[in-house]
Amino acid sequence: MRLILAQGMLGLNNGVFYAMLSLGLAVIFGLLNVVNFAHGALYMTGAFLALILYSYLGPWLGLEWLQIGFWPSLILVPLLIAGFGMLIERFMLRWLYKFDPIYSLLLTFGVTLVLQGVFINFFNASGTPYPAMPEMLKGVVDLGFMKFPKYRLFVIVFSVAVCGVVWFIIERTRIGAQLRAGTENPELVKAFGINVPLMVMLTFGFGTGLAGLAGVLAAPIYSVSPLMGANLIIVIFAVVVIGGMGSIMGAVVTGFALGLVEGVTKVFYAPAANTMIFLLMVIVLLVRPSGLFGRQS
C-alpha cells in the first residue's frame, strides 16, 4: 500500500508534465487545428534555456558572475519559448493553414528534428544536470508513507495552480472568451474586428510558452537532455487521444490521471508501465473513439 501511494505520487509528478504539455497542445489545437509535434522539443528547449541561462550564458558573454537562476528562468524562459513559437507560427505555420493539417504536423516534426539535432551537437545526447535548484526547495518532506523531495512537491502544486490559471484565463476572461469564440467561429470573430491572425500567433506563443515552463520545471528533476521531449510527445499524443481534444479541463485531468495510472502500474507490473497509456488508448478508441472528453463528431 505504501508503495502504491509512493508510486502514485511519482506518477502524479510525471502527470504534471503530461497535463501541462497536453494543455498547451490542446490550446494550440483548439484554435489553430494544428497538432504541434514540436511541443516536446520546445519543452526540451525550455529546459536547456534554463540550463544555459545559469551555466553557459555568463561564460559565453565573458561575464563569469552572470548566473540566471531558477526563479528568473521560470519567467524568462517561457517568454523566450513563446517568442520562438510565435516566430515559427508567423513565418512557417501561417502558410500552411490552407492545406491539409497534415502539413503542419510534418513541419513541426521537422522543427523537432532541427532542435534535437542542434542541442545534441552542443550538449551531446546524454543528460546534463541542472545545478540551480533553489535552496529553499532542497530536501525532503515526510508524507508519512514516503519521503518526498520538496521540489517535486512544489512542482505538483505549482503546476496545478498554473493549469488552474490557464483554465481561468481561457474559460473566464475576455481573452479566453475571444479564444473560445475564435475556436467556434473564427470567421465571425474576424468580422467583429478582432485580429485573428495576431490572436492565433499569440495563442501559439502561449501554448508553446507553457511547454517552455514545463521544461524549466523539469530541469531540476530530470537531467536536461536533447531527447527528453521526444519520447514524451508520443505519450502526450496518446493522452490527447484518450482525453479528446474537447476541453481544457479534459486535457489537464487526463494528463494527471494517466500519470497516476502509469505510476501505480509500476507497482504491479513494471514492464507494462510504458505501454499502459497506449493500451488505455486502444481501449478508449474501441469504446469511445472521440475520447473521454471529446466532442462527438
Partner: protein, 247 residues
C-alpha cells in the same frame, strides 16, 4: 422574368455612407454575386429583398470580407474597403454585423457574448442602456449561449453590436423564426435606432416588417440587383414585388 434596369439614385439628398459598385463574390468555385450595385445615405435604412438563395446574405458577408473572394468596389464614408483584411473592416468602417445564423457563441455566456466584439467607436451604448432596451437579456446575463431561446439569441446578437459604437448596421434576417411578439419588439428597436441616426441595411424575408421601416428596397436575384423601389413607390409597385417574391 423581367430584369429591371437599375436606377441610380443621383438625387440622394443625404451624404452617402455606403456605396457598392460591381460587387462579385465567390464561395470556393461558386460565383454567387454577379455585380451588385447599391448605395445608402447616412441615417437611412434599406432592405434587401429576394428569394431564398438570391444572394442577400452573401452581399452582407461580402461587405464584411467573409467570402472566399470578392471584386468590385465597396466604399464606406468614401474610403475603399475591397482590399481590407477582414479584421480591419469592422473597426475602420465602424460596422456592426448581425449574421443570419445569429452567431451566438455557445461556449460563452450572455455577458461574454456581449463583451466579445471590440469597441469601434466612442459612442457605444452602455450596458445599462442595452439591458433597458432588452430587459429579457438582463435576466439571463450568466446563461450560456447555447441555452438561450431563439428570441433571446436574436436580441443578444443585435445588442452585441450596439455596444461597440458601430454606426452602420448590417442585419440579416433578424426576424427569422421568431414569434410575432418578438418581431414587434424588434420593429420598435429598429425604429428607435433609426431615430438615433444609425444607418442600417436590413435583409428581410418578412416584407411587412420591412416596408414599415425602410427608405428604399433593393430586390436581388441570382446575385444581381434586379430592382430598386423607394419607400414612396411601394404601394404602386406591389404587383411587381409580388411577382419577384411570391412563388
Amino acid at each position: 422574368m423581367t430584369i429591371a434596369v437599375l436606377k441610380t439614385g443621383a438625387d440622394a439628398p443625404v451624404k452617402p455612407m455606403l456605396q457598392i459598385k460591381d460587387l462579385h463574390a465567390w464561395y470556393g468555385e461558386s460565383h454567387i454575386l454577379h455585380g451588385i450595385e447599391m448605395e445608402l445615405g447616412e441615417g437611412q435604412l434599406i432592405t434587401l429583398l429576394g428569394r431564398n438563395g438570391a444572394g442577400r446574405t452573401t452581399t452582407l458577408r461580402a461587405i464584411m470580407g467573409m467570402v472566399d473572394r470578392r471584386t468590385g468596389s465597396i466604399r464606406i464614408n468614401d474610403e475603399e474597403f475591397i482590399n481590407k483584411p477582414a479584421h480591419r473592416i469592422s473597426p475602420d468602417g465602424r460596422i456592426g454585423y448581425c449574421p443570419e445564423e445569429r452567431g451566438i457563441f455557445g461556449s460563452l455566456n450572455v455577458e461574454e457574448n456581449l463583451m466579445l466584439p471590440p469597441k469601434v467607436g466612442a459612442d457605444g451604448m452602455p450596458l445599462e442602456e442595452i439591458f433597458s432596451m432588452f430587459p429579457n437579456l438582463a435576466d439571463v446575463r450568466k446563461r450560456m449561449g447555447t441555452r438561450l431561446s431563439g428570441g433571446e439569441q436574436q436580441m443578444l446578437a443585435i445588442a452585441r453590436i450596439l455596444r461597440t459604437g458601430a454606426r452602420l448596421l448590417l442585419l440579416d434576417e433578424i426576424t427569422e423564426g421568431l414569434a410575432p411578439v418578438i418581431v414587434k419588439t424588434l420593429g420598435t428597436v429598429i425604429r428607435d435606432l433609426k431615430k438615433r441616426g444609425y444607418t442600417i441595411v436590413l435583409v428581410e424575408q418578412n416584407f411587412r416588417f420591412a416596408t414599415t421601416l425602410a427608405d428604399r428596397h433593393y430586390v436581388i436575384e441570382h446575385g444581381k440587383v434586379i430592382d430598386r423601389i423607394e419607400a414612396a413607390d411601394v404601394e404602386s409597385s406591389m404587383g411587381r414585388l409580388n411577382h419577384y417574391l411570391s412563388v
